[in-house]
Assembly symmetry: C2
Homo-oligomer: 348 residues x 2
């Protein structure tokens, strides 16, 4: 019936994800004093009896976020938890509980859901979170997973996206671009499989990047490490959409600029070699690939001695005055503006 | 790929919703002391600094839970919030926050989502809850809404499903069966519309039951009323799947039996007349229709004077020893066992 109405129509793809959320929620008001932070960060922050609780939720949709032709259900269950916990850790909080809802079509037998839940259980065990509820329903097509994660943090220790200051250092954990290149390899093998189902691919040279795509980990260890190092980031976000998108979020919400140094971006050797094989620029992959689930944060320069030489942490840039803009400083020492790649789901 | 595997397959419809959830989550362990109650009630209960928080989540799927050919998007947005708040109220808690995630296909223009969010905003305003987050993504087909609701309750005042005692009174709010009969009218008009799109139906005689289907309300007022009456139910649940299913939940978890009196079941005159028109038994509709979002609870007989003659509350039965079983006592004074109708989604 909606399609029949002869009224103004604006395509969702014209707005992109963030524009869409901003637009739809702009009239929403916060009225409870227990709501410390609503929409707009990695997670919402609530306060009950001076204890701060973070809440975050994600939807994973078959055909949009995952492809069951190469994503084992156990891995999918695992990943569905991890991507939510990553948002909890990005608030500098400890994850404590999750709810898991699934909509599933009749084509899935019980044994398939058992695999999915085995992955969920494994993630819940490894990350020590309680699965406290959910909803299980049928769908007309495909599989959809909705996870809400809850965490706790001492009041004042939570880290938002909006606290970065000019001259702060920009730090990222782990390495970037691997999940995206793992996906490229899996997509290629799927095409090969379609032509020749008997072909046995040798995926050994891609083991790290494929694991980063199929079984990512969230950086619970980094929240603990920061506590041990006595470092409270001034701003933090997890790298789910891609480094450039996350830098833009921090800069926009903190009202600062940024210089990002291309030669500092941490890349695994498998990412570099696979980028060469696919003839893709590895910096572009690190900037726009996404699904890394690393943490990106800013710290005061005074904290530099505490983090230097830590193998988990790489300083990749520094924050500047907002008027100086956001730039990638290339290996050739040219300055290229960092732009949002945005969200391509609605264009597909 | 899943379909290709030649292994044991169990159809989801063989288990039903509750059997499925029980089966999939039976290995899940609770490890955090902040988790007071996990899976198995209307909502989970968490405790942070002695404040109890309830958390509940629901998925609404197009083609399963709603049909956009007669469900206006604004009503759908409203209903998606209400059905979740109903679970919060069923814990005797006050609703404070919600997260709303949607997966939506490209066929929806922005203006359709604005309608949906206008309904969400209206419900959030009327029920005084903050919308604190969510996720917006594309789907390959249709619309799916996932809502998580959060509430708070003083420690010790939350009400579970498992506290009913033999001789307790069984009480229900409002009236039952209207939402189901509203759906029957809407389904009939949809068929008429298919044959003759110019036909203008007269829905005036069905206004109440259609509103109960399209724009249900959750009984926030009853939580307040119980507080004012100084009554703490021994067990409580909301009527979403149908009276018989909810009675079974309470009896099973409380390990009690029940006599339900057919002549006490509250029915609106429109439900009775529409049942006659459709030649359906109104008791069957009240027992199995569902989507009433009324509260069903048990109270100690000592509390009877506090609730008697309250127009919002109807005593419909009393609890018995588990060995006496669950029965409907008919108008003809025969005793019929109450059976689960279960969950038909996976059979459709």
């Amino acid at each position: 019936m909606i399609e029949d109405k002869n009224q103004q129509r604006t395509k969702l793809s014209d707005l992109g994800e963030f524009g869409l959320i901003d637009h739809l929620t702009k009239n929403f008001k916060i009225t409870h004093k227990s709501t410390v932070k609503g929409i707009g960060d990695d997670a919402a922050v609530l306060e009950f009896n001076k204890k701060r609780i973070v809440v975050t939720t994600d939807l994973l949709v078959e055909g949009v976020h995952f492809d069951l032709s190469y994503m084992p259900l156990k891995h999918l269950g695992y990943k569905s938890i991890v991507v939510n916990l990553s948002d909890v850790f990005a608030m500098n909080a400890k994850a404590t509980q999750v709810t898991v809802s699934i909509a599933v079509s009749n084509r899935f037998p019980l044994e398939a859901l058992e695999e999915l839940y085995a992955g969920i259980e494994t993630a819940a065990h490894i990350y020590n979170v309680d699965v406290i509820g959910g909803d299980t329903t049928s769908s007309t097509t495909g599989l959809l997973i909705s996870v809400t994660a809850i965490g706790e943090v001492e009041s004042g220790l939570e880290v938002y996206r909006n606290g970065a200051k000019p001259s702060d250092l920009l730090v990222v954990t782990g390495d970037l671009g691997a999940a995206y290149m793992g996906l490229q390899v899996l997509e290629r093998e799927k095409e090969v499989y379609k032509v020749n189902p008997n072909n046995q691919p040798d995926l050994e040279p891609y083991s790290y990047i494929i694991e980063r795509q199929l079984k990512p980990e969230a950086r619970k260890d980094v929240v603990k490490l920061l506590e041990e190092l006595d470092v409270k980031p001034t701003a933090m976000i997890d790298v789910s959409d891609g480094l450039s998108s996350e830098i833009i979020h921090i800069c926009k919400q903190s009202e600062v600029g940024c210089d990002l140094y291309e030669d500092k971006i941490p890349l695994d050797p498998q990412v570099i070699s696979t980028c060469e094989e696919f003839n893709i620029d590895s910096t572009t992959v690190a900037l726009n690939g996404g699904e890394d689930y690393e943490l990106l944060f800013t710290i005061s320069q005074a904290d530099y001695p505490k983090i230097k030489a830590n193998p988990n942490l790489t300083i990749i840039g520094h924050m500047k005055d907002a008027s100086e803009g956001l730039h990638l400083v290339t290996r050739a020492d040219t300055r290229i503006p960092i732009k949002a790649q945005g969200w391509k789901n609605f264009n597909e």
